[in-house]
């Protein structure tokens, strides 16, 4: 890490109406450093990123890159100055090849607008070699694992001569082994003198990769320190303020071995060609079971089959000991199962519909008399969920898209609690959810389990698994690799089971 200041932002402020999204924030990045940016949802991280990329112009402040001022509110100027951003959701064209994605929009042409393919290929090859990225240039991007898609985006940024690369939650969709690969790429960037702004909720990652860290809360910088001079506790405190930080701490320690009740959800020999084979599982009332494993272990596919979303080819599912046929989600819902899907935007929420509608749509018969919606019942059902779950703002008439990620996730949970679902299946329930809301969700799940609910969670977040699981099932290549109970649940044991051998 050198001491040259590459990017300096000073006194950045941005307000929307009366709300100060950013309030005099400073940020400086050195050439060849990985600088972590953390903060809860709504703290101002995304506003800061948008200002740096020129997507929005600030009300006040200055921005310089290598001593030269960068004009605000001009995405092209930011890009030309060498500031590139890799967003949480891939910004690639899935059907195009790696090569085409990297050079998209800047094809070197010969006469008559013909593409000079060989020159392109040569230039990109050299670029990849220089940064130790190994990518098949002709593979369509959609066939690549997520981590390689991130590498394509990095390559794309580098091909634009980026000197500063912003990465927004780059590991959100990655499994553990893939994270290490990404870190390798990031370290290469650092060695080449690129400044990386690494935005993440996951503190372990920050301590593994970052050189310095900036914490913002309510639009202000609360902490800026070399990573070696700080601690997890200090970061959490800076992110949440002191009071909340204590609460989260206790939430993580709380891990009661609840006395399991009767078996609520059970399956035997569940198979689906090409996806998972011979899956067996029992979830008891009052129990939280986590399914973990690497991306590609087909965990989501398995739980979607349990909910009837994509039914299995063979095998049986039992609910409270009775064999059931779940060919459609509607059947699973009638049997008291609720399902929170992995991608809440794509499969879960009705973004443009009011929060109240989002809360009642899975149980319309409860609020309907002779086909007519009864407003009193709709409102009562929605209000109860908003209050029980602490959804903020507590408004039934706002569209779901107005909520933060954590509150959206609460709405999805509330949708099932509204109808009294006793078996809950949650796929990656806290991806993209800030630390505060995460703690809320863990506490809520624990409370539901104590009240007798059976809860099955798919999670790649090891901290999450360790914090809330009574039992852990590790899947690998579409099969159960191992099951851990109580004190057996340790990070090392789970990781070796996930990456390794399938139980014979």
């Amino acid at each position: 890490m050198s001491d040259t200041m590459l990017l300096s932002a000073y006194g950045l402020s941005k307000h929307y109406g009366a709300h100060h999204a950013l309030d005099g924030a400073d940020l400086d990045l050195r050439a060849g450093e990985v600088h972590a940016l953390v903060g809860s949802n709504g703290a101002g991280k995304s506003t800061l990123v948008k200002i740096l990329t020129g997507a929005v112009g600030p009300d006040a402040g200055t921005l310089t890159l290598a001593g030269m001022p960068v004009p605000f509110g001009d995405p092209k100027a930011a890009l030309d100055a060498g500031i590139a951003c890799i967003y949480q959701e891939a910004n690639l064209v899935p059907a195009l090849s790696v090569l085409d994605n990297i050079v998209l929009g800047r094809h070197p042409t010969r006469r008559f607008g013909l593409l000079d393919r060989s020159a392109q290929r040569q230039a990109v090859r050299e670029l990849l070699a220089r940064h130790d990225l190994r990518l098949d240039l002709d593979a369509p991007v959609q066939t690549l694992p997520t981590v390689q898609q991130k590498e394509v985006e990095i390559a794309k940024a580098l091909s634009l001569n980026a000197r500063v690369i912003l990465m927004d939650e780059p590991t959100a969709w990655l499994a553990h082994a893939e994270v290490e690969k990404l870190f390798h790429s990031i370290r290469q960037l650092r060695a080449q003198g690129v400044a990386v702004l690494y935005i993440s909720h996951i503190l372990d990652e920050i301590f593994a990769i970052a050189d310095r860290v900036t914490v913002i809360r309510d639009g202000k910088v609360r902490l800026m320190a070399p990573i070696a001079a700080t601690s997890k506790a200090a970061l959490v405190e800076a992110m949440l303020g002191r009071e909340l930080a204590v609460e989260v701490g206790t939430a993580h320690r709380q891990m009661p071995q609840s006395a399991a009740g009767a078996v609520a959800l059970e399956c035997h020999g569940l198979s689906k060609a090409g996806l998972f084979q011979d899956m067996a599982l029992q979830v008891h009332q009052g129990e939280i079971v986590c399914i973990t494993g690497l991306v590609g272990a087909k965990r989501s596919e398995f739980v979607r089959a349990l909910f009837g979303a994509e039914p299995a080819d063979q095998g049986e599912i039992l609910i409270h000991g009775r064999r059931v046929s779940l060919r459609e989600p509607a059947a699973a819902i009638r049997h008291g199962i609720g399902f929170v899907p992995e991608d809440r935007r794509r499969d879960g929420l009705f973004m443009g519909l009011p929060i109240g509608a989002n809360l009642v749509l899975a149980y319309l018969p409860l609020v309907t008399r002779a086909g007519l919606l009864v407003r009193r019942l709709t409102r009562a059902l929605g209000r109860r969920q908003v209050e029980d779950l602490g959804i903020v703002p507590a408004r039934l008439d706002l569209p779901a898209r107005a909520l933060s990620g954590g509150n959206q996730q609460k709405v999805l949970l509330g949708r099932w609690l509204a109808g009294g679902a006793r078996i809950l299946i949650l796929d990656e329930p806290t991806v993209g959810v800030d630390v505060g809301a995460k703690a809320d969700i863990y506490q809520l799940l624990r409370r539901l389990a104590s009240a007798g609910a059976a809860i099955l969670i798919v999670s790649s977040d090891m901290e999450e698994v360790l914090a809330i699981a009574d039992r852990v099932i590790v899947m690998a290549q579409g099969r159960v690799s191992r099951t851990f109970t109580g004190h057996e649940v340790t990070q090392g044991a789970i990781l070796s089971a996930a990456s390794g051998e399938v139980a014979q």
């Binding site: 909910f307 979303a309 009705f350 749509l361």
Partner: protein
């Protein structure tokens, strides 16, 4: 709730005026249009002319409100034009076959529309075919079927008086089709705002994957919206036959564009998930007012077609602009 409203404003980032314009822009456009036409030709706002406008839009209006659910659910129905012809022919033939019995004729006309809609619905919902292709094909099939059964001749309808009354009779000075339009719109509005079916239509249009995971009956709801749209065209076809006292295989040609224009001009998004029945009523008023105003100003029919197209694009662009402006 003052604080709550402040929060809402913060979140949507919109000033009240901007949000009002965004939500009720069509009403503003309607009012502006009325003022402009009235200034150019005061006869535009005479009672007789206003009733005339309502009478002229009642068919498009009925079809638009019945087709709105299709659009909210994320689909489109292009097949309503030939259904108008089919329904008129069915009514005429049934009158003939039953010795001028009124009820069977009305039912037959509406039923043929509902039947075509049902076929659309099954193709879209059960066999998952793209709505634009299905209903475009159905447009051709239904027009062909109408020509097969009706030939190229006009089928005169001279009696019964009760049937003709539906087309041109008046009650308290207002033509009957206006009452049918208002009643249809009221029923559809009720279904939209008060029934679980209405809410399901929005949910499916907004996010079909999520709707399925909520256990909603996608196939049934989707089939029903097309059936309703077809039935609406059936009603319009029967009224048209009664108005002009004839049935013909060539009626309703191109009317689907006016119907879709009414829905979209009203502010229901072709992307699905948003819209309202009352918006389609306003959309029909916009189209009717425009046609009537241009005629009153003696604009030639050729020029009217061009002007209508331009006004539609400008109105939608303005709506888009207002939306983005209110969000900024």
């Amino acid at each position: 709730m003052t604080t709550a409203h402040t929060i809402a404003e913060k979140i949507s980032g919109a000033l009240p005026l901007r949000r009002l314009l965004r939500d009720y822009g069509q009403i503003v456009i309607l009012a502006l249009g009325t003022i402009i036409f009235a200034a150019l030709e005061p006869a535009f706002v005479s009672t007789e002319n206003l009733i005339g406008i309502l009478y002229q839009i009642s068919l498009i209006g009925i079809m638009a409100v019945c087709s709105t659910f299709v659009v909210i659910s994320g689909g489109i129905d292009l097949s309503v034009g030939p259904v108008v012809a089919l329904a008129g022919l069915m009514a005429a033939f049934t009158l003939e076959a039953t010795g001028l019995a009124l009820a069977p004729a009305l039912l037959a006309g509406i039923a043929i529309g509902a039947g075509v809609g049902l076929l659309n619905g099954l193709a879209v919902a059960r066999f998952q075919l793209p709505p634009i292709v299905v209903t475009l094909a159905m447009m051709s099939i239904a027009r062909g079927a109408a020509l097969l059964v009706g030939g190229s001749v006009l089928h005169l309808i001279r009696e019964p008086a009760a049937f003709l009354f539906i087309g041109s009779g008046r009650v308290v000075g207002l033509p009957i089709p206006i009452f049918i339009f208002v009643a249809t719109a009221a029923i559809m509005w009720f279904i939209q705002t008060r029934t679980s079916f209405g809410l399901s239509v929005f949910a499916i249009g907004e996010n079909a994957a999520a709707a399925r995971l909520c256990g909603l009956a996608l196939t049934r709801v989707r089939t029903l919206v097309y059936l309703i749209s077809g039935a609406g065209a059936g009603i319009a076809g029967v009224i048209l036959a009664a108005q002009v006292r004839t049935a013909s295989a060539n009626y309703g040609n191109g009317i689907e564009l006016d119907v879709i224009a009414a829905i979209v001009l009203g502010g229901t998004s072709l992307k699905g998930g948003s819209g309202a029945i009352y918006r389609s009523v306003i959309g029909a008023l916009l189209i009717g007012g425009m046609n009537n105003g241009l005629s009153i100003l003696n604009v030639s029919t050729d020029l009217q077609l061009v002007a209508k197209g331009v006004i539609i694009v400008v109105a939608i662009a303005l709506d888009n602009f207002l939306y983005r402006w209110s969000e900024s």
